[in-house]
């Protein structure tokens, strides 16, 4: 059988986990396992194949849990879900060639959303690299633009150093995916094992502590501000700085707007919370971003889905941008007070400088009035379930405490609008890349990251079908993941844009035929139910969420519902439509 050869002797069961005083000789594959142990990796998502057989041999009964997803894309999205709720790198393994290329979407997704991932790929043996050997592909070449860094190992002796660096790079500075490509023969090579600490990386020295002069500028600017607002991005979550954010906002009474990915960093039920900003953000949030004279961006990257047309974004504001990645500062929006560093450190320093409270009570009251007048809305009419109410009901029943994972589309926006996140790390969604198919596998990973929490995967009827093979993982292990399919019979977000911007020409966006989702779930050993009318929504949903083990709920919703408010593409955030029924 091509690609399968040289069975390797199993040494994995007798590796000591304690620090070794004298460098011990280990085989490459065993080194990988040892390194994963030392990095306290408790779960790996992956899929075996020829080039990683030696590695899988070392993993066999090694004590680290391996979750066999049913597609490598599922494995990497699961690793992302795990990383997002734990703050620790997710680890994924794939074989060479097609295994490695199946990781591409997840790598790109993790890159754009700064998710720490260590991806391990097998490669053909060194001697045949470059010969178009069976299942050879240049994953280094392919993944360079979509990883924070990548490595191809040339000898087993490099393994400890490379892995040490990889874990460090993935989970420090601006987090991101790191890929390690290991030729098959390297796994069998023997070399001394030492796990050096810390990694030596002269070209990688992220600035964590901000400059105190910049912090002073921020604070003296704030004291003068009349219309300050905080824009809090996922940097707050990566820095675990929610408490400081709350303390800071409360001390100076500054209203807070979240980005899509930042949700949960500031409690949604807080008086000063204006909601999510951007394309489908709240009227109050976007008004604040438009009219502010002092914008404090904490770890957000001014993504275009947030800013709308740049000319109309915070046109009269002094812009403060706190970001651990200096390249983000000034990239999209000219910045007046750049602060390079960790958001948590910055907030600590900002809290240690006392300045006069800005005189802005009128501004805050005005925004709170807008918030009260223009909440996210929907109109309940007829028997059909409104998707927004479905989300609001999930929020009510789970008391805002569930880990909510979504796919991409309208349902994702409704989840962001109608699920009030009160605490960090309970919101898992694909923001930057907008990857359909992310939700189901990411929910599996999130469950492994927070096994005691209730994990709810809210997915669209279309996106669900992109990675539904991962139902096998849920069915096989009977994972208590609750899958809610928001079935609007359409590629809803595409349909919405076609309705609004393409003359209602629904080109390839209506799903006139669908599989029987209930039978499908049952085929995978997952109990399933369906609700079709608003009258049964609350009762059935309660029963569904209360049942132990996995479950799939197909919820037939109003097919013509659109996501509002909306900032149409190419317009400014002050030009929202649909702020009211």
């Amino acid at each position: 059988m091509p690609g399968l050869s040289e069975p390797t002797q199993d040494m994995s069961n007798n590796i000591p986990s304690e620090a070794v005083t004298e460098p011990k000789l280990l085989k490459g594959a065993d080194m990988v396992v040892e390194v994963l142990r030392r990095e306290q990796v408790d779960v790996i998502f992956g899929y075996p194949g020829g080039a990683v057989l030696p590695l899988y041999d070392a993993l066999y009964q090694c004590g680290i849990r391996h979750v066999l997803t049913r597609h490598e894309q599922g494995a990497i999205h699961a690793a992302e879900g795990y990383a997002r709720v734990t703050g620790r790198p997710g680890v994924v393994i794939a074989t060479s060639g097609p295994g490695a290329t199946n990781l591409v979407t997840g790598l790109a997704d993790a890159m754009l959303d700064s998710i720490p991932i260590v991806a391990i790929t097998g490669q053909v043996a060194k001697s045949v690299i470059g010969t178009d050997a069976f299942q050879e592909t240049s994953i280094i070449g392919i993944s360079t633009p979509i990883t924070k860094h990548n490595y191809q190992i040339r000898h087993a002796s490099e393994i400890p150093k490379v892995f040490k660096e990889a874990f460090h790079i993935a989970n420090s500075g601006r987090k991101g995916p790191v890929l390690i490509d290991i030729p098959k023969d390297v796994a069998g090579e023997v070399a001394p094992f030492t796990y050096e600490d810390p990694p030596q990386l002269p070209g990688y020295q992220p600035t964590v502590a901000p400059h105190h002069l910049q912090i002073r500028k921020v604070m003296s600017g704030l004291a003068e501000a009349k219309r300050p607002v905080i824009l809090a991005g996922a940097g707050v979550l990566h820095a675990q700085a929610s408490e400081q954010l709350l303390a800071f906002a409360e001390r100076y009474r500054i209203p807070v707007v979240h980005t899509l990915l930042g949700l949960g960093g500031f409690p949604a039920n807080h008086e000063l919370f204006l909601g999510m900003g951007g394309m489908h953000g709240s009227a109050a949030a976007n008004k604040a971003l438009y009219e502010t004279d002092f914008l404090i961006n904490l770890g957000a990257r001014f993504d275009d889905r947030l800013t709308g047309k740049l000319d109309h974004f915070a046109p009269n504001a002094t812009i403060v941008h706190v970001d651990i990645d200096p390249a983000e500062i000034g990239k999209n929006i000219p910045t007046d007070i750049p602060v390079v560093g960790d958001v948590g450190e910055a907030l600590n320093m900002m809290l240690s400088v006392a300045v006069d409270k800005p005189d802005c009570s009128g501004w805050v009251e005005e925004l709170l009035a807008v918030k009260a007048e223009f909440p996210f809305w929907f109109v309940q009419e007829g028997e059909l379930i409104k998707p927004q109410r479905l989300i609001a009901e999930i929020a009510r029943i789970t008391d805002g405490e569930a880990v909510v994972v979504t796919d991409v589309g309208q349902h994702q926006m409704w989840a962001a609008q109608f699920y009030p996140f009160r605490a960090p790390d309970k919101w898992v969604t694909s923001g930057g890349l907008g990857t359909m198919g992310f939700g189901l596998p990411a929910a599996i990973g999130a469950h492994f990251g927070k096994p005691d929490a209730l994990t709810v995967a809210i997915v669209g009827d279309a996106g669900f079908q992109m990675t539904l093979q991962e139902l096998a993982v849920i069915g096989e292990m009977q994972l208590p993941v609750k899958i809610v399919i928001v079935n609007n019979g359409a590629l809803g977000m595409v349909r919405q844009w076609q309705e609004l911007f393409h003359g209602e020409r629904y080109s390839s966006s209506l799903l006139e035929w669908q599989p029987d989702f209930l039978l499908l779930a049952r085929a995978y050993g997952i109990p399933a139910m369906k609700i079709v009318s608003d009258a049964e929504l609350s009762g059935q949903l309660e029963a569904f969420l209360a049942a132990p083990g996995p479950g799939l709920l197909e919820c037939i919703v109003e097919p013509r519902e659109n996501v509002y408010p909306m900032v149409a593409p190419g317009t400014g955030i002050h030009q929202m439509v649909g702020v009211k029924p």
Binding site: T144, I169, G203, D325, P326, A327, G330, K331, P334
Partner: protein
């Protein structure tokens, strides 16, 4: 003016690919790129001449280069005193009766004829971009058959050779 960047990078496989992939991904255009080893065998210097761009774009280029883990140092030489040279080989039509004219022409440029054939000569010239372009323009009427330019390589004028590399690899004493 076209920005000139001097970039010190780890001398290891794949680094050039990382840099060019970055430029492609970000839509940065380069006019020329030279790479060679420095006095420290682990470090290479890339000299990049960028297409004209505004300040904000250049800042973004430098920051993106910095983000690369294999990039040790990025210096903008554009406004700095620098020595910048490129080497050009020009194969030009040169029937025997014209040969002395060509000789006279290239003489002030301190260019050399390094290969002679029946109908052509190959001229080598080093200098800054203005100088080599002036020579090319002068030779063009005689019929340039083939031309090869190395692209610009540069050092900051005040720096002792290799001082950049020394900053990153401590304790190395450099022979000058």
């Amino acid at each position: 003016m076209s920005p000139v960047l001097s970039v010190l990078v780890h001398n290891k496989p794949g680094v050039l690919h990382r840099i060019t992939a970055l430029f492609m991904r970000k839509g940065f255009n380069i006019q020329s790129l030279t790479v060679g080893i420095t006095e420290s065998p682990d470090v290479s210097r890339m000299t990049l001449v960028m297409s004209e761009m505004d300040e904000a774009a250049l800042e973004q280029v430098m920051k993106q280069l910095h983000k690369q883990i294999d990039v040790l140092k990025v210096t903008d030489l554009t406004e700095e005193p620098m020595v910048a040279r490129e080497l050009v080989l020009i194969q030009v039509n040169s029937p025997v009766q014209q040969r002395s004219i060509i000789h006279a022409l290239i003489e002030p440029f301190r260019a050399n004829i390094i290969d002679v054939a029946r109908d052509t000569v190959t001229i080598q010239v080093t200098g800054d971009t203005n100088k080599v372009e002036a020579l090319i323009a002068l030779l063009r009427p005689y019929g340039i058959r083939e031309l090869a330019r190395t692209g610009l390589t540069a050092l900051p004028r005040d720096s002792v050779l290799g001082s950049d590399a020394r900053r990153v690899s401590e304790g190395q004493v450099l022979p000058i």
